[in-house]
Symmetry: C2
Subunit: 163 residues, 2 copies
């Protein structure tokens, strides 16, 4: 629930989105976001955005679709897919792919983070490590690459499942 600092690592739990410095959730702000991505502000997109801002992070398209459908019955699966794809392209949301599961989405955090997840119980811990980030940049530069993004997922057994 709280941000814990130890050795430069920030641990953020599943509810982390409530910690983010979000723009206020009024309709106009949301419309501005959608138009900023170059899209028209439809009611479906507004509902999806609201759900992203309010709901759990790390949800699949299916889960987001179901959440939105509870509020607006008249929304299609494809719309959620298409909008999330566009939001991910624009960087407003981040796509997380772990193993062979369906993609999961989260609002792009102000402070970039990676994921550490338990292979047994599925618990996800978010972390940020500045030095790892710096070294990644270095690796890319040393190979003549201009880094655009990266995926770092750590898999292991959490303290509870380790026994």
């Amino acid at each position: 629930m709280n941000t814990i600092l130890n050795q430069g690592i920030v641990n953020i739990n599943e509810q982390s989105e409530i910690l983010l410095d979000r723009e206020s959730l009024d309709e106009d702000a949301l419309k501005r976001i959608i138009r900023g991505v170059g899209l028209k502000a439809t009611s479906q997109r507004l509902h999806i955005l609201k759900s992203l801002n309010r709901g759990r992070a790390h949800r699949t398209v299916q889960e987001i679709f179901e959440a939105v459908q509870k509020i607006d019955l008249d929304i299609g699966f494809a719309t959620v897919y298409r909008f999330l794809r566009d939001l991910a392209e624009s960087g407003y949301v981040t796509e997380i792919r772990m193993g062979r599961q369906a993609a999961r989405y989260e609002l792009t955090p102000k402070l970039h983070h990676d994921h550490l997840s338990c292979v047994k119980c599925g618990q996800i811990v978010e972390f940020h490590h500045a030095e790892i980030e710096r070294l990644q940049e270095l690796v890319a530069r040393n190979n003549g690459f201009q880094l655009t993004s990266h995926v770092l997922e750590l898999y292991g057994l959490c303290s509870a499942c380790k026994v």
Copy 2:
């Protein structure tokens, strides 16, 4: 083609598998490998293993299937899938998942490495960075996790595509 060392980074190109200190490719050695994984040494599995040892790294199941089929017409897609899944579980091969593409496989290198790939031309550069590895262990330990594996994929524009 050659292993290049700079600042502790090992660059290995697409043909890297020829650099690996492979067990010799005679049938008996291959059979020993298969039995070591707890499986029966069938002709199909031998063909798949040979192809893995001889062919390009980073191939999809589809590509490996097609390569093996040229030699042994009597092989099914599912067999390749099942065997690769088993080999990945045993650690003999490593599964690489980049974005939403199909999984790719490579013989698990003696020296662990990660991937840096160009989002435009698809070129893949392998690298190893001991300090990044060490820091990952540290992150896991600090969160009470026992690390079992990780995925680190860097995406960017290579020097050729950057312009």
